[in-house]
Amino acid sequence: MSGDPEPEFVRFDGVGLTFPGGSGRRVVEVIRQLDLSVKAGEFVAIIGPSGCGKSTLLSLLAGYLAPSSGRVLFRGKPIAGPGRERMMVFQQPALFPWLTTAENVAYGLKLKANRGNGRNVDETVAAMLQLVQLDGFARHYPSDLSGGMRQRLEIARALAVDPQVLLMDEPLAALDALTRRTMQREVLHIWEKTRKTILFVTHDIDEAVIMADRIVVMAQRPTFVLEIEEIGLARPRLREDPEVGKVARRLSALLE
């Protein structure tokens, strides 16, 4: 891309994270000297051995955790805590079970912090539900929805407050294979429509190759960036495409 306005949209700058021990717990060093930059509008997949700290990376960016050393910068400023410009989409959807589908999406819009920003609640809710194809389920409770629908609802709730980054923590891991493929297309479709920056943690290498602009390969704990793979292939990409297979094989060799 020529003339990118914000090359330093998200930046991890020599980030280290160590969980202190105490009361019988070991000191755990999760991240060591991690550097990573993400451009605005990019779709970045993060893969790595399980338990290596991929999700922790997202928690740092969401502001749920603070780094022990180094800096996590969002548009040049250190992250001070959670904020609606960086929304997390959890693996096990963290939907509010006492609210209906529509109320879940409206929840963020009705908070004091987001009131009076010119967005009409009902219109935004309707638009979001349509975007994730849940219109017609507005009055259902999360417990009435299937796994794929819950995941889409979670995405709609996050998008409703108009974030700049979506942090997706293995969002499709709990779905069956068929729903998962549909959802991969859905997420790409949402990304193309909204042009939000997406950081997408997954343990499925094929999924990463099919979806992402770039793939970040993380090392075993204490983790750092092992390699970054640019995926230049045109979308839509198919699992059966030999080019996709080639990249996937190279990446999985890296992880062994």
Binding site: P82, M88, A94, F96, W98, P142
Partner: protein, 269 residues
């Protein structure tokens, strides 16, 4: 579409299965009553100790027509409702405070654990000294005994909230107060409700016992007085009324939950 089909099928199943089952559930109690009636009439049991249920129901009619039952019932229910309301108010506030503020937990929890195993009736003689033989002493013991399940369940509910729910709402921009009102309270509500239902059951048990120990009016007093004058049919009449109230109010609580917590799915039993 699948959703629609599922609810439709579920409704059909309920209509088909529950009606005969509800009737079926009456068979047990009716059989016992009938066997009891027959054995009393045939002289198989001592009718002084086991008067036929028809005699108890006849006495119930007398109690109703003379107005004695209403007086006793009103006295008991007034005490129960007051004590229960106090228990719920204090219990929910303390439970939430304990879950949210560590210092409160450190202060209150040992007190709860020390007082909880004591039978409320052991405290009742003291309560009579403090609050008199009237309503005050009963309301006090009910409030004390019934507050424990409310405290403990509210605490458990407010503590077991998914971290991710709080995180999600914080990311969306919620303030601490908004998180408390919008997340902590509704998430604890099913637990609080369980505690409240238990508290009601305890209130009904405690009031009868307390009124048997020291009272001048009330359902417990009525039953005890009947026993001391050897009117066994009245003892049974009183027991039937007490049972019916417990049964009806618990049904009411279940309905109330469906109305208050339509989103809540209890694990199938």
């Amino acid at each position: 579409m699948r959703q629609l089909l599922r609810t439709w099928a579920a409704r059909r199943l309920i209509r088909w299965a529950v009606v005969p089952r509800a009737a079926l559930r009456l068979v047990g109690p009716l059989t016992v009553l009938l066997a009891w009636e027959l054995s009393a009439r045939l002289g198989l049991v001592n009718t002084l100790l086991f008067p036929p249920p028809s005699k108890a129901f006849a006495d119930l009619v007398v109690l109703v027509s003379t107005g004695y039952l209403w007086k006793a019932l009103y006295a008991s229910l007034f005490r129960v409702v007051c004590g229960f309301a106090l228990a719920v108010t204090v219990g929910v506030s303390l439970g939430v405070a304990m879950a949210r503020i560590r210092l409160v937990n450190d202060f209150v929890d040992p007190l709860v654990e020390l007082l909880r195993p004591i039978s409320p009736l052991a405290i009742f003689p003291l309560a009579i000294l403090w609050f008199g033989i009237g309503d005050g002493s009963k309301i006090f013991v009910i409030a004390l005994a019934a507050s424990f399940p409310v405290i403990l369940n509210t605490f458990a509910g407010a503590r077991s909230i998914e971290t991710n729910l709080i995180r999600a709402s914080r990311s969306l921009g919620a303030t601490e107060l908004e998180i408390f009102k919008g997340i902590v309270l509704p998430a604890s509500l099913p637990y609080i409700f369980t505690g409240v239902r238990l508290a009601w059951g305890i209130s009904l048990i405690v009031i009868i016992a307390a009124e048997m120990v020291g009272a001048t009016v009330g359902m417990g007093y009525m039953v005890l007085e009947a026993q001391q004058t050897f009117r066994t049919e009245r003892v049974f009449a009183g027991i039937f009324v007490i049972g019916a109230i417990g049964f009806a109010t618990d049904l009411g609580f279940r309905r109330l939950r469906q109305w208050l917590l339509p989103w809540y799915r209890e694990t199938e039993s």
